[in-house]
Amino acid sequence: MIYRESGQYKTSYINDSQIFPIKQDRYAVLAFIAFAFLAVPFIATPYFFSAILIPFLIFSLAALGLNILTGYAGQISLGTAAFMAVGAFAAYNFMLRVPGMPILLAFILGGVCASMVGILFGLPSLRIRGFYLAASTLATQFFVVWCLTKVPWFTNYSSSGVITAQEVKILGFHFNTPEEKYLLVLAIVCVMALLAKNMVRSTVGRSWMAVRDMDVAAEVIGFRIMRTKLTAFAVSSFYCGVAGALFAYCYVGTVEPEAYNLDLSFRILFMVIIGGLGSILGSFLGAGFIVLLPIVLSYIVHVTGLPNSVTSNVELMVFGALIIFFLIVEPHGLARLWQVAKEKLRLWPFPH
């Protein structure tokens, strides 16, 4: 009843090609963003900001990056954390070595460095496919972390190989409290998500999808495979790089290269697959799921009053079982569930 598109006529091309063609969607998204910017800062507790919302947003951004590569361009990558590390350490060094460097520019340059590394390590994708590619992206993961530990210049000769993020200051305004950092991250994520949404609807996005669905066919009908695959790697790594920089600057503060380990890569891959491959919304849902699930689980098993040595293991088992369960119920991810719900809503309450 409420969610219906009848009566919404598109009278111009502009109308026809807007991001959210259905009015309800548009308002819902706007309302949601407005809620996140205006209401959340007043209702959320510092715990929510610094332990849930900020990591959620940062991981969403990284998942978005990986989703561009895996979901849209069809290249599986297990090296996401490495690109995040490049972003973080590049941003740190730009801030450190260029006097008066604005932090936002440092984030962007961090992303650019990550995308250059991405292009380099994306080259094998021109010849290798599927799991062979996935396993070889592990080379990126191990090599980048090794490099960051080995070359002391990257960590400013810190004896322990740890970098301490400089303070975040934009136009004289300091982002210190979790609330302020949340708003900064939210703004960056919103802008980048919007860009991504637009990108995947454009020629670039369509060429990615063509390559994903069948690269030989795409090549035959005139897509330039090399350019398409490499742009996917570049854009994806850019997103991951920015996410990595935000991870260092707005979340943990002091990081060692090992923070960007294989575990993190896998977590982000989970987010993408659980959330839904090839869906911007899915990246957010997946990130929310993977960030929240262990926390909720730990609360639940905590209530049972079992000894901790038992609950920790049960938590892990339930986490694994739930992943399998979700995959069985909906192999296309949470985004697909949302789509199904929308289809149902469209007809509700009259099924015909």
Binding site: Y132, L138, K150, V216, L262, M317, P331
Partner: protein, 298 residues
Amino acid sequence: MQFFFEVLIAGLLSGVMYALVALGFVLIFKASGVFNFAQGAMVFFAALTTVGLKEEFGLSLWAAIPITMVVMVLLGIATERIVLRPLVNQHDITLFMATIGLTFFIEGFAQLVWGSTVRKLDLPIQDVPIEFVMERTGMLISQFDVIAAIICAILVAALAILFNKTKVGRALRAVADDHQAALSVGIPLQHVWAIVWAVAGFVALVAGLLWGARNGVQFALIFVALKALPVLILGGFTSVPGAIVGGLIIGASEKLAEVYIGPYVGGGIEGWFPYVLALVFLLIRPEGLFGEKIIRRI
């Protein structure tokens, strides 16, 4: 020169140990197209169960191993029933993801049952240098590694016979070639998968015992899977001999690289060198050394 050979042999023997883990991956991928990430967890679980039975229930090693074998077969069958069967015909990556879920489950389950203490596993094989080789050539070659290599060779031979000479093996190869065609000529797909997972469980047990005896039975056994991945991409996901040859190449070259190149770049390159090496190989042969040639049609 003697040192060079020592490094080379140590590398080859390490390679055999990697190949042992890689075999489990190959078996499952060959028969069901599933990239089974849980193989590392299975290795850990198998080793832990054996040691746990031995220490907690006072069983002898020779009693614990068959019981563990039964447990691994049950685990394989249960995996097929509960995880894979509902996911038939799904995208590869979904299946891959499901095995990651399985990994968490097994990790949690193993530690829930047996606790998180680090345990010692004593096989009746001494991990000491073979004396007559030491006397003749001055090289130190571990008896344990040599026996591990022999076990590995026996295992591969047995698998080759299973695949090539038995009825089950024919069914396995048929399923590997084409699920649907195999189904249509009356091969029970589910049974075949259950068998493959059980065999993979057995391979995991052998790998778990050997690695567990070498490193102690602890959570880090899961990481031996990471050592197996470059072997896999180098040798091809679908080839049993590929796993062995790949293992030998990776083992030997990573040791040589660590010893001869490592000192110039700060060392510790073993972590990524095998991957880069495998990557270079792949650029020349995208389906791995022994993988089936990929023919792509539109």
